[in-house]
Symmetry: C2
Subunit: 404 residues, 2 copies
């Protein structure tokens, strides 16, 4: 019965489905509870990670405006560029009548897609006058997006829903955890390769070429996916900057390089950083290594349901103070499904003052990067809060790697 | 004298500089002319490609708020996350006193960086009350960014400057063209590999792994950079969708796959698409191949200074009509420097109605993708308008590749 109905409704086959319909329905229900709590009658989701999590949409099309609209009743509506509607039909859990889009004349011209959206979705469905939740501070929700709708929909009210969906993503399902663990296994292969291949004189882009190849080749039958942040591999004084990308210079004897890379499976990320020193590491590297490893161990002991984000950070900072290293700010953020430009979920932070209570199924990049005036060191772990403690999502030896 | 002054002013070394200071100064002057024409006294640039083009900033840090402020006099001001200031000092053309940032408590919390920016940059420099140009419809310029500033700076006026900088990027300098040609050479290697390796039974992620490796390994001593759009490789009915990314399924005999990939050098992109058919291609593929190739040849004849964007599109569409293929919309967009999520410049389009006059030094992805109900074909070229005509930026055989 269901299949006949589907084949009648859907003009394009479902090519990919990484979660059951039941899981998406449960996600939408979680989102609706959060909407009700904020008085939102219609939620407009712009963040591509949130769009994918809510409805399954997968595609590298977020350089044009696209959204998912979640009403209080009925399936969500995917809305994007007309030529991407087949891609939406192929990947979302909803039937084809929930996929709609704007014609080419709204693509990168004077006409804004939200003029079309306001008329063809909001007005056409009688949704003017609703309280609309919008992700005010999401990249991909531009100032012009809001202003265009405000002009055309004067009776609507607008409620800031930044991170509303992100928060629903915090506790991972069994299937999501499975995908992250596969990411972790891919990551282990990446680090085996890095430590094996890095040597003085090797050009950075050559090592990064092989990192990408290993990451996308994947593990067993599981093909790897692209990371939302490209591999970061700064050496020497470059390592005093967290986000410089590679160039075609060579690795040098007598310098440390930190690697910030992720294993990715079906958009689920497992990022981990390690530092490699070529030659005899100076005392400051060994000192920082010891401090960070102790800090991570102390933090992991506090990583369990019932404790809060701050507890992990405080345990880490206590170890740093013991070793005389000044380090503030945050030492981690939640991870899971993600599209560029970020692989963090942008909700909680592992920092002092964040009293969010840890729950089984939450996952974090425990990321205490040390960036000094002219060098840096990163040793990090991706972790999953379990029923009674914590699990590392990949098993890369936790140390400063030294090759001489 | 200059060097002594620099070493006094700058606490962090300039690690990378891909263009002379003179080129950046000329770019800023072009931007200022456009500002004056619009009555803008201070321009706030959010698009990472525009930021990099204006001042040289390079780093994968655009998942947090960052901007370049261009005043009418004096060097631009880089503004971003405090921990990225070293990365800015290392890459921008300006001295260190033009690099400023916000502390960690403004990172992904209730506090918005624009509260800090409004006080510490705008008010601190006496810039309240100015007419501020803002990229209203740029991803990375969120609705919250504007609203936060509007609340704190009630005497400022706000002028839409979407694409103002993008338009200044249209005509490329000699150095930029050099970088794009290197991208084109990298792309030729990528296609040699694709045609060599693709076969029925090969998993897509395995081929994409090798595409990435070749792309980043680069050519001669020129290391490759990451593409702003990941390789798109849809097969069979998937090719009816333009933006589905790869998975770990296998290539099949009796199906076409189009490849949309770019060679990238120092953020300059040269994208080109080709289609590969495994087995004996059906007549519709051969027919479409012939129509597209003739259409591209017709379009290239119109690609010269003095003609306009529309002329290329019309020549292409005429060939399509001759072959009985219905194709509308746009068949290309300008390219150059780019950061995710797009590699297009988002200004002109090769489409009917776009009367922008072509100038020597403009570069486009001439991209007439054909997406039918259950298959697709892409044969495209990246082109440079020269003094008297057009140059293809890479030389991949222009045809439907067939492997049987």
């Amino acid at each position: 019965m269901k299949m006949i109905q589907s084949s009648k409704l859907n003009s394009f086959p479902k090519l990919r489905s990484y979660f059951d319909r039941e899981e998406y329905v449960a996600r939408v229900e979680k989102v609706r509870s959060a909407m009700l709590a904020k008085g939102i009658e219609l939620l407009l989701v712009a963040d591509p990670s949130n769009i994918a999590w809510v409805c399954g949409y997968d595609g590298y099309s977020f350089y044009n405006h696209q959204f998912v609209a979640v009403p209080l009743r009925g399936d969500p509506i995917w809305y994007g560029r007309g030529s991407d509607m087949n891609g939406a039909r192929a990947t979302v859990f909803m039937d084809d009548d929930c996929v709609t889009g704007y014609p080419e004349e709204y693509v990168q011209r004077d006409l804004h897609p939200m003029e079309h959206f306001s008329r063809e979705v909001i007005m056409a469905r009688g949704w003017e006058g609703l309280a609309v939740g919008v992700e005010m501070d999401s990249f991909y929700f531009t100032a012009a997006t809001l202003h265009t709708m405000q002009k055309l929909l004067p009776t609507s009210t607008w409620i800031d829903a930044t991170n509303l969906v992100n928060w629903q993503r915090a506790v991972k399902s069994k299937r999501e955890i499975e995908y992250m663990r596969i990411g972790g296994r891919i990551l282990e292969k990446i680090y085996e390769q890095i430590v094996d291949e890095i040597r003085p004189g090797l050009r950075k882009n050559e090592l990064v070429a092989n990192i990408y190849a290993t990451a996308i080749r994947g593990v067993d039958t599981f093909g790897g996916d692209y990371p939302s942040i490209v591999p970061i591999v700064p050496t020497g004084i470059e390592a005093a900057t967290p986000h410089l990308t590679w160039d075609d210079s060579t690795f040098q004897l007598g310098a440390g390089t930190f690697f910030e890379v992720a294993g990715v499976y079906r958009r689920y990320h497992c990022p981990v950083s390690r530092t490699v020193y070529l030659g005899e590491p100076p005392a400051k590297f060994l000192h920082a290594e010891q401090a960070v490893i102790e800090g991570i161990e102390a933090g992991l002991l506090m990583a369990k349901p019932g404790n809060c984000c701050q507890d992990i950070a405080e345990a880490f900072f206590a170890s740093m103070r013991k070793h005389g290293i000044k380090k503030g700010g945050r030492v981690g953020y939640p991870i899971g499904m993600s599209y560029p430009p970020d692989w963090g979920e942008r909700t909680m932070s592992l920092r002092v003052g964040d009293l969010t209570v840890l729950e089984s199924g939450m996952s974090f990049h425990f990321m205490p990067g040390l960036w000094f005036d002219d060098w840096g060191l990163e040793i990090t772990e991706s972790i999953l809060i379990t029923d009674d403690g914590v699990e590392c999502l990949s098993h890369v030896p936790r140390k400063l790697f030294v090759k001489s």
